[in-house]
Amino acid sequence: MLDIDINDLKRISELIYQKHHYDFRNYAMSSFKRRVLRIMELKKLSVESLIKKLTDNPAFINEFLDELTVNVTEMFRDPSFWRIMREEIIPAIMLNQKQFKIWHAGCSSGEEVLSMCIMLKEMGILQDVTMIATDLDVNILERAKSGVYPAKNMELNEKNYIRFQGTGSFKDYYREENGMAVFPKELLMNVSFRRHDLVLGDVFNKFDLILCRNVMIYFNQSLQNEVLKKFHESSFKYGYLAIGSKESLIWCDYANRFIVVNNEEKIYKKIKD
């Protein structure tokens, strides 16, 4: 059975940091280990040959990143979250301003961004919202930009959309071509997709709402702590932050600068600079 020990995992993350400037040194060990083992299995590599490839072959890092990062997601994941967004959070933001900005941090293949765009369109405010969607992995950003997904994923997405109680018919949002579901580019018109590294990257803007759901679960606690500081700095005062339904911030240094707006859906609001 394929296995890898912690020292080799540390060697790999150290090598990637030194040579390629990506920092996985504070990733949660159990999932990082599974991801590396998965790459070894897919590419039929031993630990030593993986290390050699990461050292000698500069192009391999992109392939490696694409497999290492977890890109499994669905549209309208947690429909109850999206209902709260539509009925409480977005209206609360709009009490004070007509136009606002959203950051999808760690957007992966873009299903959440697209869900947001569909929701905002149904609310009639898509043109008023500026969205920035970022990810570490350039390949996955290209996929997100394209708005094209395997048609077989649509069954689950549609089920979620129905539970979200969208006002339209989910099937009207895309057309099927060669087994793919193609969403129109207009839906993504106000989204700017950018490469950004949550771990090493700088704060680049301020937002009214930040979504980072099921991204920080791949980080260890000290890294979660650091990233929360960045989100704090990237939020306007009284801006909102949404994390995954089973994530928690309570142990972070900056936790007391936020209040819980919805504990079931893990939506927070920045109350202190």
Partner: protein, 197 residues
């Protein structure tokens, strides 16, 4: 009643189950000795999109309230944990959980192999693994990890299972220390408890 050789000082009990395991789990949790000294970590196959209701259903007759841990939550003795819907649940070195939304394993998220495998890694020989009724092979490999790292392996007696694929798969890939009916599993946990009194 069977007597077990319990010289080992265990640190955790992990339970996997799928189709037909609900009754067994309810019975085990309902007859657990008060103040059971170890954490019980459960990964049971469940509907992906139904977040609420399952812990409540399991807790009704349970001696201890069942909880679904948050990511990075510390594992405490005497607590009963259940893998949340649509997340894999791992145990990390440093005595806490880590959740993930990675690909399904054996068509399952949560996957029993992942929970059992990471428990085996974290607790080594200080782990008891119990696999109950189920209709697929998820958990079999996890039981092998537990055995290979020196932990104790128990499967539910296949003839008692509503669907025996899961325990039979485990029996075919690794050494199983005890094949027990649910009542005997309860007895086992009582003896385990006694050892700490």
């Amino acid at each position: 009643m069977k007597k077990f050789n319990l010289s080992n000082r265990y640190k955790a009990v992990v339970i996997g189950g799928s189709a037909g395991s609900f009754q067994g789990v309810v019975k085990i949790l309902g007859q657990l000795p008060k103040g059971f000294p170890l954490p019980i970590i459960m990964c049971l196959h469940r509907l992906k999109h139904v977040r609420n209701g399952f812990v409540e259903a399991l807790s009704i007759k349970s001696v201890v309230q069942v909880t679904e841990p948050n990511d990075k939550e510390t594992i405490k003795k005497g607590n009963v944990y259940l893998a949340p819907a649509n997340y894999h649940m791992s145990v990390e070195l440093g005595n806490h959980f880590a959740l993930s939304t990675e690909e399904m394993v054996n068509n399952s998220r949560p996957s029993i192999d992942i929970t059992l495998g990471t428990c085996a890694f974290a607790y080594k020989e200080k782990l008891v693994g119990i696999l109950l009724s189920g209709a697929n092979k998820d958990g079999a490999l996890g039981m092998k990890y537990i055995h290979d790292r020196g932990g104790l392996t128990i499967v539910q007696e296949p003839t008692e299972c509503m669907i025996d694929t899961m325990p039979r798969s485990a029996l075919s890939v690794t050494k199983i220390d005890h094949v027990l009916k649910v009542d005997q599993i309860v007895q086992f946990l009582k003896e385990l408890d006694n050892q700490y009194r």
